[in-house]
Amino acid sequence: MSLATMFKRNSLLDERSTWVTSVVLIVGMLAVVVLHALPSDHAWHLNGSVVSLLGKYLTYMLLALAVDLIWGYLGILSLGHGAFFALGGYAMGLYLTAQDAPLAGWQSAMVHFPVAALGVVLAPGLLALVFGWLAFRSRVTGVYFSIITQALTFALMLAFNRNEMGMGGSTGLTRFDELLSFSLSSEGMTIALFVASGVAVLLAFWGCKAITRSRLGRVCMATRDAEARVRFIGYRVEHVKLAVFVLSAMIAGIAGALYVPQVGIINPSTFAPLFSIEIVVWVALGGRATLYGALLGALLVNYFKTLLTGVMPDAWLFLLGGLFVVVTMFLPQGVAGLMAHLRRRREVTT
C-alpha cells in the first residue's frame, strides 16, 4: 500500500477541526497575498515588512507543529527543539552566504541549492537520529530527557559562538542578497517566501494529522499513556520514538530554513535554551495533542510578543511567564481545549 492511499483512506478532512484549520490557513494566506497586491496608497495595503513578519509567524507555527507531534502525541517533552530549527536555519544561511562569496572547505558545496536543501533536513535529522538513538535506547524519559535536550541546545549554542566553527561566530550569518538568483529584497521574493512558508505549514499539518490518525499515531498515544504495556504487546517503543523524533526535527529544520531568509539573520541566540522553552509555551498555550492548537498558540503568543515588545519591552517576559502559569493552572488543555469546552457547552444548552 502506498502513502497516497493512506491519505485517502484516512479521509483527513472528516474531522471538523482539520478542515476548519485548513480553510482558515488557506483563506488567511490568500487574503495576505491579495492585500499585499493592492496599490500601496490603499488603506488596506499590507507592506512587505508586515508580510515578512507574518511569514516569520508561519515558520514559528511550523516549529510548534513539530513540537506538538512529539510532545502532544508521544509525550516526549523536548526543551531543545530550537537546536533543530537553528541547524536548518544555518544550512540555509550558509547557502545564502555562499551566493555572494565562495566559502572554504566543505561549506563550498552549500552554494548549490539542492545540497543546501538536503542539509536543511539532514543536519537536524542526523542530530536527532544519533541523540534520539542514544537516549531512547537507554530509556531516558520524562524530565531527564527534557534536561539533556536543554544541555544539547546549550552546548550547540556555545559551539556556534566560536569563530573557529566557521559559522560567523556570535554575529552569525547575515547580509544575504539572493535566493535562487532572485533578490531577497524584492517584493516578489517577500510574497514567495510567505507563500512557501504557508504551504509548508499546510503540508506539515496534513502530514502530521495523517500520522496521528494512523495506527502508528495510536501507538504513539499508547506509548505516551502506558509505555510498558506497549512494549509487552510487542512494539519496539524506541524505534517508534526515534522515527517520530527524527521527523519532528526535520520539520523544525525546514521551519528554520524558511525563517532565515525572511528575517535576514541566523545567529547562536536561536540555540538559546530560552527560545526552546518559549516554543513549548506556545504549544502549551495553544493546546497539546490537537495540532491546530500548536498553530494557534504560536501565532497568538508571537503576535502579542510583537505588540508588547513595541509598547513596553520589559513587560514581555513577565507576561510570558504569567501566561505559562495561568495556562498550566487553569487551562491544561490550552486555548484549543477551552474552545472545545465552550462548544460542548453551547451544544448542551441549545
Binding site: 500500500m1 502513502l3 493512506m6 483512506r9 500520522i211 494512523s214 495506527r215 502508528l216 495510536r218 501507538v219 498515544m221 499508547a222 505516551r224 499513556d225 502506558a226 510498558a228 504495556r229 506497549v230 512494549r231 509487552f232 504487546i233 510487542g234 512494539y235 519496539r236 517503543v237 524505534h239 517508534v240 522515527a243
Partner: protein, 289 residues
C-alpha cells in the same frame, strides 16, 4: 554472579550452541519435549534482597497453572523475568526448548507469543476499546508497516470475536478510560487474546471484579487453557480453587510446594506461611457464596 573469562569461553564454545545469527529469526516455539516454559535455578536480587532465589518452574504446553504466595514471594518478579523486563543474576529461562528468554527483550518475547496482563489493569485510556484491541492484534510491528497498516476484514472479525468473548461489544467505541475497573481487566485480557499468545501470564485477573464477573473470568481461563498455556497469579483463593488443576506456592522467591489444590492446602508448610486457618475459612465461604 559474574562469570570468569574461562567460563565465558566455555559457555561460548558449548558443543550444542546455536549462534543467534544462524537460528531462524522467528522460528516456531518448540514444545516437542512437553514444557512451554522452563525456569531453572533462577535467582535475582535487588540491593541485597533476594526477590527470586533458585526458582525452578516448568509449565507444560496447554497447561493452566495457578501461582499463589504471600506478598513479596516473588510472583511479579518472576513474570518480569519471563517477559524480559528484569534480567536474573543467575539461571536459565527457556520458552519451549529453542528460545532462550534471557537473550531477548520485551518486544521480542511478546512477538514470540508470551502475553502478559499486569496486576493493575493497564489499558490505553485515551483510545477507544476497539482501538485498544487493534493495537494488540498480532501483526507486523515495524514502524513503517504500522504507519501504513489498515484494519482488514479478518482483523475486524477478530476484534468482534474478542469483544464478544470479553462482553464489551456494546462499549466498542467508548474510550477505555471510562470503563469500570472490572471491564478494564477484561479489556486487558482481550488485548492478550488479540496477540494470539502461546503462553498467557495473568497477574491477579479478578482483583476488583464482582462475583458474576469473577465466574465469567474463571470460565474464560479454563476455556483458554488447552489452546494456550495459562499462568495465573492470584490472591483470591476461591477463584484459584475454581480453576486450578496444579497450584504452585511461592515463598521467599522459590517454590515451596506444588500439586493439586487439596494437596497444597493440606501441606503443613503452606498452611504455616500462607494459607493460615482464618484466611482459608473466609475464602471457602466466598467460594460458596
Amino acid at each position: 554472579m559474574s562469570m570468569t573469562n574461562v567460563e565465558r569461553l566455555r559457555e561460548f564454545a558449548r558443543p550444542d550452541r546455536v549462534f543467534d545469527f544462524m537460528a531462524p529469526a522467528r522460528s516456531p516455539v518448540d514444545v516437542r519435549h512437553g514444557p512451554i516454559l522452563y525456569l531453572e535455578d533462577v535467582s535475582v536480587s535487588f540491593d541485597g534482597f533476594k526477590a527470586i532465589d533458585d526458582l525452578n518452574l516448568t509449565i507444560d504446553d496447554g497447561e493452566l497453572r495457578c501461582i499463589i504466595g504471600p506478598n513479596g514471594a516473588g510472583k511479579t518478579t518472576m513474570m518480569d523475568i519471563i517477559t524480559g523486563k528484569t534480567r536474573p543474576d543467575r539461571g536459565q529461562a527457556w520458552f519451549g526448548s529453542r528460545h532462550n528468554l534471557l537473550q531477548m527483550d520485551e518486544p521480542q518475547i511478546a512477538n514470540l507469543g508470551i502475553g502478559r496482563k499486569f496486576q493493575k489493569p493497564t489499558v490505553f485510556e485515551a483510545l477507544s476499546v476497539s482501538a485498544n484491541l487493534e493495537l494488540a492484534m498480532a501483526g507486523d510491528r515495524r514502524v513503517w508497516k504500522t504507519l501504513l497498516a489498515r484494519l482488514d476484514h479478518e482483523g475486524r472479525e477478530r476484534i468482534d470475536e474478542v469483544l464478544e468473548t470479553i462482553a464489551l461489544s456494546a462499549e466498542r467505541d467508548r474510550l477505555a478510560g471510562v470503563l469500570s475497573h472490572g471491564q478494564k481487566q477484561w479489556l486487558e485480557i482481550g488485548m492478550l487474546l488479540m496477540q494470539r499468545p502461546r503462553l498467557l501470564l495473568v497477574d491477579e485477573p479478578v482483583a476488583g471484579m464482582t462475583e458474576p464477573e469473577m465466574h465469567r473470568t474463571a470460565d474464560l481461563m479454563t476455556r483458554l487453557a488447552g489452546q494456550q498455556s495459562v499462568v495465573v497469579v492470584e490472591h483470591d483463593m476461591g477463584f484459584v480453587r475454581s480453576i486450578a488443576r496444579t497450584v504452585t506456592v511461592l515463598h521467599q522467591g522459590s517454590v515451596l510446594a506444588e500439586g493439586s489444590m487439596d494437596e497444597v492446602a493440606n501441606d503443613p508448610r503452606v498452611i504455616d506461611v500462607y494459607l493460615g486457618g482464618g484466611d482459608d475459612d473466609s475464602d471457602d465461604t466466598r467460594e460458596e457464596g
